[in-house]
């Protein structure tokens, strides 16, 4: 038996290669969008994928994971670019009514209005 006591977490983390955050995206079932699940700390991509699997997939809650180094994510959160102070309501489609145009097009092509999806 090896007598040396296991290193505690802090000591190991200090001596090992530096850990960095990786962002994990998960898909719950085929066809679903990839959604951000959370993040893991890991020293490299291989271990990051292992840890993503254990933290976001071990209970069979995902069919696909994407693991991205946080440093590789291009961040845009500048309010001047995303939330400009001037009125931008004219860029929203609210004033444009599709209903009448669709009804006219259906009438012309002889199609029925599709029934509401049973969900």
């Amino acid at each position: 038996m090896t007598d040396s006591a296991p290193l505690d977490r802090e000591t190991t983390a200090r001596q090992g290669p530096p850990l960095e955050p990786w962002e994990v995206f998960r898909q719950e079932k085929e066809g679903d969008p990839m959604r951000h699940g959370g993040s893991v700390m890991a020293p490299d991509a291989v271990l990051a994928v292992h840890y993503a699997r254990e933290l976001y997939g071990r209970r069979q809650e995902s069919v696909r994971l994407w693991v991205v180094r946080r440093a590789d994510v291009h961040d845009l959160s500048d309010p001047d670019l995303l939330q400009p102070p001037l009125d931008r309501s004219f860029k929203k489609p609210g004033g444009y009514v599709m209903r009448d145009k669709l009804a006219a097009a259906r009438k012309q092509s002889g199609q029925q209005k599709p029934r509401a999806r049973a969900t």
Binding site: M1, T2, S4, A5, P6, L7, D8, R9, T12, A13, Q15, G16, P17, L19, V40, M41, A42, P43, V46, L47, H50, Y51, R53, E54, L55, R58
Partner: protein, 266 residues
């Protein structure tokens, strides 16, 4: 349970019954003991993520052990014999896991070295059962192999990282390999009635041939990483029967709840 019992009763020819019993017991005990040893890292693994990963791996192994003990209970088909009874109600000398798993948890390098040696050996053993004539065993092995693939990837990733980092990580890994190496081949300890198993198509090859296959399989990793190859097994015949003090301690840990309340359900 009735279904498994009747399926297994017809699946195992009477002449192979005893040998299959020994094979299942050795495999189940291996998974049970390594699973329990690795679960000792819960709460103290090197980083939080690894803590979750190692604990999850340990749970996988205990799951494999449960499935194998259930098959064994079905084979024995006796009143009061279920997976828990086989797993917990034995004295330490009655366990049939490989001596490789008798060295105590040790440090992280020891855990990784043991995982790598065991997972590579287990993979070769499972391959030899992938086309087994015993259908319930073959079907279970097929499921277990799909999970073990990931275990081996995890163990290899860590083996490489420890081996390639000069200084303490590599030194500890080499020390662990030197301690475990002579016992690594005990996973392939010959089984009683092994010839019958091979003849009956239950097992593809004798353990000796599987051990040679395993050594050939791991050699490239040991050469590439400059690690000491496991030497020939010492006292190979007793590879699964003599268990030392570290196992007695582990046994007292994993039987403690069962001894306090044998009929507890959870």
């Amino acid at each position: 349970m009735t279904t498994i019992r009747s399926t297994l009763a017809t699946a195992v020819p009477t002449a192979l019954r005893e040998a299959i019993d020994g094979l299942l017991l050795s495999m189940a005990d291996d998974e049970f003991v390594i699973g329990f040893s690795d679960s000792e890292w819960t709460g103290i693994a090197p980083i939080l993520e690894e803590d979750v990963a190692m604990s999850s791996l340990a749970q996988d192994e205990l799951g494999h052990a449960t499935a194998l003990y259930e098959l064994l209970a079905a084979l024995r088909d006796a009143p009061g014999v279920d997976a828990d009874a086989i797993a917990y109600d034995r004295e330490p000398h009655e366990y049939r896991h490989a001596r490789l798993l008798d060295h105590g948890r040790g440090d992280w390098a020891m855990t990784i070295a043991r995982r790598y040696l065991y997972d590579t050996a287990d993979a070769v053993r499972l391959e030899a059962l992938a086309a087994s004539s015993i259908a319930p065993l073959r079907e279970l092995v097929d499921k277990i192999r799909r999970e073990e693939r990931y275990h081996l990837m995890h163990a290899t990733a860590w083996l490489e990282r420890l081996a390639e980092r000069r200084g303490e990580p590599r030194d500890r890994l080499v020390a662990a390999m030197e301690e475990l190496g002579p016992d690594a081949g005990t996973v392939f300890t010959p089984l009683a009635g092994e010839a019958k198993l091979v003849e009956g198509g239950a097992l593809a090859e004798p353990m000796e041939a599987l051990e040679a296959r395993w050594r050939a399989r791991i050699t490239p990793d040991f050469v590439r990483l400059g690690l000491p190859m496991p030497p020939a097994t010492a006292d190979a015949i007793n590879g699964r029967v003599i268990h030392g003090e570290p196992f007695r301690w582990l046994w007292s840990e994993f039987t403690s709840v069962r001894l306090q309340d044998p009929v507890a359900a959870w």
